[in-house]
Symmetry: C2
Subunit: 552 residues, 2 copies
């Protein structure tokens, strides 16, 4: 990086100037600003995934551990960024990028984000956020209404109620899930009969008070990994995050869940919360929320729904029914930076009971004074930016009906892609899309036939090789940089619980066309014919021939 | 808000258009973008705090709980924002806003933030962040070097090491402190002798394994309120967050600390961590870090330094010595959105031992695979934006020497303001600035004389009335909207431990001049003469006269 060669003592005047805004639009900074916009426009209009350069090579550009001594011209720095960072980023907005939950953003998010940065409000307290505080409360209220559909009088009473909060805005679903379980834990172990509550006395004493050996959280095997972190952080331990078996469609098996509950009771462990997943991260399936709500009620425990991905489906009057029962949840996680098309960093957890967050309320002498309107008294995080504004913008500009179209088209697109895969003899659809996520793998017709007839052992060996094929293809496709799918490991029932590696596709980008989806498949077929995969497929053939000889 | 009256079925084409960028700079969105820049420029150039409008009134603009059904023109929405939000925000960048830790931002942060939003990278995994991942690693490495000054070979080995991370980037100091204590807790209670570790088995079993009744965290009474949240979340309980007495300069009293440690030992409670504060939130003081490091070593416990505020002082070769001993800390919290002038949402925790974060490492099948470069396997948060880029930008463009000037001037400015207050007969300097934070109150010369001679009881009653004066003035000054100081409650030694209310001033904005500081004092003097405060001061006079009569 070229650095300015200034005298040892940097010029004070020029340093102050960086804190003021340029007076004229044709000032140096104004020009740089424009150049950045143009450069980004170029990047965003190229509908391809970033060109692959070896990460080890990229790392060399970011290996210096010393903070530079001398200041540097903004223009030199932006040149550096354009060359070394922007060009080496992932084009998450590309319509061919269908592997993860990060999608294109509506363009209006760019100018509106500028407001956020320029105002640099801090939502922890009203003194540094003013109108942003009632705005965030409104966003939480709107999401609460989306889930719980309470009457107008309810929101008149609670939406702007300074002593309470209908939910907590946070950086993402992980903190949202943690906040939900934190509040649930503290409510179950609240002050009573001389016990001053878990917040004060800690978990070991809380267990003594409740006369039990542990607290458990139950969720299906498809539960998000953030729940494991939460069980760890909250001190209940990952052993007590019980992973319940799922049915053929990746939904929690209620009979297994009841068995697990009975087992825990026998061990003196109390269920703290049941968690329903509304849009599993890997397969996009939705748990039977009504049945979970009923069981939670029966057990007298908290019912949380992790709808980080699927929550936005509530915006569609056509598919809202898929989440039936969510209105009975004590708390719900929704990420606006997923299917609500808001930039990264916009998670929320909503609580049915408007006083539920009292269980984690906290105060300090200089802020969050009792009775203040400060939102910081009900959040895990402290200082926070005004991201809620971008959720407000999305809801206002796109509107419920606009979101409905986006949601509906995503689900329909996923169904069409599933049909394309099912119709192709060399691919195997592993999970059907319930929302807009599906999984599949390359599995040539002749191997599929072999698998049907194979013994358990042989099938396992064939699947092992197919796993390598899937992994190789996924990596190579990412490197080719035209389209991108992700991969994960699942244990579909048809393979007797063996875990297999699959392609995972998330269809949330409104710009992804059927033509692009065809090209994803075409590219994978093409790769199947390449040396590295041919070698693997030959291995399968050898395996089959061998067993034929053995059985002959 | 005016809404577009479109047919019930919103036009699909127009919906897709919002996901694409405008082709021409003179397109509608292009013009809106420019208008926002201009409007913000107007807001940012007005050097006053936002005009006060009653919050209850503002809340009415954000009281609707229904998500709007119909889409809305972006131009209508931005008009709404300008009128109802931007104009009702707090001008945190105003040089007269000296009450909180949110300051002006260098202007270059605005165009650079645009890159962040447009690229919308997700740092949880390399597949959605590419070059942003090595860049974040570099930022963590640079901060690590700022604190620990390890040799080049150390950083060659660890900075870009895919299996480890020198720290965790997070949304702010609260999550940073929580991450530090989480890692410390899991390390102390790691797997050993058949115990599979606290992450797996939970806190109650960990205590059994360690054969103790609880884990304690010790910090001075000036410790940040986030530590209380951490003690609650981690399950150790707020009772076990021990608030240690401070000396006259708000620094932890080492004798009291040793006493508390002895008491805990007697109760079978094991010290998990000692925390040193480097820049207390209320008074900007720094604990004796070297002494704390020595004691932590003696006790065999974790030593964490909360340098969320003061950490940036390390960038000044002139004042770095104030934090001596920080290089012995096992972990250090630094917020870049404080004295490093980065927009809200940039906290970090650094660990001396490059393998320390292994204690909280986690993996999943679809991301964070073992051996991947994904930073998400070592953070509390999941999906995260690429905020590290703005820290990288600040360090590169301002440079260490630039930051040094900013830090030095802030400290010098605070000293001058302290002198101004000390020289004024009607003000009382409550805490001297060690860094750039100080506290004081309006206390007329004649009341100061009465306080010197007063009995404990009388002094307490006088202080109660003075508290009302301070509170009234602070609220009125905020409402006047020209300058802003915050307030808190402290118990300075001179009042026998009575807590008094004080003005709190944070001098981090480089644009705050001595003239502005004079006007803060002038405005407060003026308010002292107003009815509401005259009534209060009369009460003090009556109190004094009464006791004269009583003693006569």
């Amino acid at each position: 990086m070229p650095r300015t060669r200034e005298p040892a003592q940097a010029n004070l005047e020029s340093l102050y100037r960086i804190f003021t805004i340029p007076e004229a639009p044709d000032s140096t900074l104004g020009r740089i600003d424009q150049a950045i916009s143009d450069n980004l426009a170029g990047f965003l209009q190229e509908h391809i995934v970033a060109v692959e350069r070896d990460l080890v090579e990229i790392e060399r550009d970011f290996s210096q551990s010393r903070i530079p001594e001398e200041p540097m011209y903004v223009s030199h720095y932006t040149d550096f960024l354009k060359e070394k960072l922007v060009s080496q980023s992932v084009h998450t907005a590309s319509p061919g990028f269908v592997g993860h939950m990060t999608s294109a953003l509506p363009y209006f998010m760019l100018p509106l984000s500028r407001i956020l940065t320029a105002l640099n409000q801090n939502l922890v307290k009203v003194e540094t956020s003013r109108a942003f505080t009632p705005m965030e409360r409104q966003v939480l209220g709107m999401l609460h209404h989306l889930i719980y559909k309470r009457e107008g009088a309810f929101y008149d009473q609670w939406l702007q109620n300074s002593r309470h909060a209908l939910g907590a805005f946070c950086s993402g679903g992980t903190v949202a899930n943690l906040t939900a379980l934190w509040a649930a834990r503290n409510r179950l172990c609240g002050p009573a009969d001389g016990f001053r509550g878990i917040a004060q006395e800690g978990l070991p004493r809380a267990l003594q008070h409740l006369d039990c050996k542990g607290l458990a959280v139950l969720v299906s095997r498809r539960g998000h990994y953030s729940l494991g972190k939460a069980a760890d952080v909250l001190g209940i331990g990952r052993d007590n995050l019980v992973a319940v078996d799922t049915d053929e469609r990746n939904r929690i098996d209620m009979a297994s869940l009841r068995e697990q509950c009975a087992r825990l009771r026998g061990e003196g462990i109390r269920p703290l919360a049941l968690i329903g997943v509304a849009g599993t991260t890997e397969t996009g399936n939705i748990d039977p929320l009504d049945a979970l709500a009923a069981l939670a009620q029966e057990l007298g425990c908290h019912f949380h729904v992790d709808a980080a991905w699927g929550g936005a489906t509530l915006l569609s009057n056509n598919y809202r029914r898929l989440l039936k029962g969510i209105e009975r949840a004590d708390s719900v996680t929704i990420d606006a930076h997923k299917q609500m098309y808001v930039p990264m960093g916009a998670g929320m957890v909503l609580f049915k009971d408007p006083t539920a967050l009292a269980a984690i309320e906290h105060h300090a002498a200089y802020i969050l004074r009792e009775g203040s309107r400060d939102l910081g008294s009900h959040t895990l995080e402290g200082s926070r930016p005004g991201m809620a504004m971008l959720v407000h913008a999305g809801l206002s500009i796109i509107g419920r009906k606009g979101y409905e179209i986006l949601i509906d088209r995503g689900i329909e697109r996923a169904r069409r892609f599933a049909q394309m895969i099912a119709a192709h003899s060399d691919f195997e659809l592993v999970t059907e899309p319930e929302l807009n996520i599906l999984t599949y793998r390359y599995n040539p017709a002749w191997v599929q036939r072999e698998l049907v007839a194979a013994t358990a052992e042989k099938a396992a060996r064939i699947n092992e090789v197919l796993d390598k094929v899937t992994e190789t293809m996924q990596k190579r496709q990412r490197e080719n940089g035209r389209t991108f799918v992700s991969r994960t490991r699942l244990a579909p029932g048809r393979y007797r619980g063996d875990r297999i590696t699959v392609f995972r596709v998330v269809l949330a980008n409104p710009l992804t066309t059927d033509g692009i989806l065809s090209s994803v498949i075409d590219e994978q077929c093409e790769m199947a014919g390449q040396e590295e995969n041919r070698v693997l497929l030959d291995q399968i053939q050898a395996l089959c021939a061998q067993s034929v000889r053995l059985s002959a």
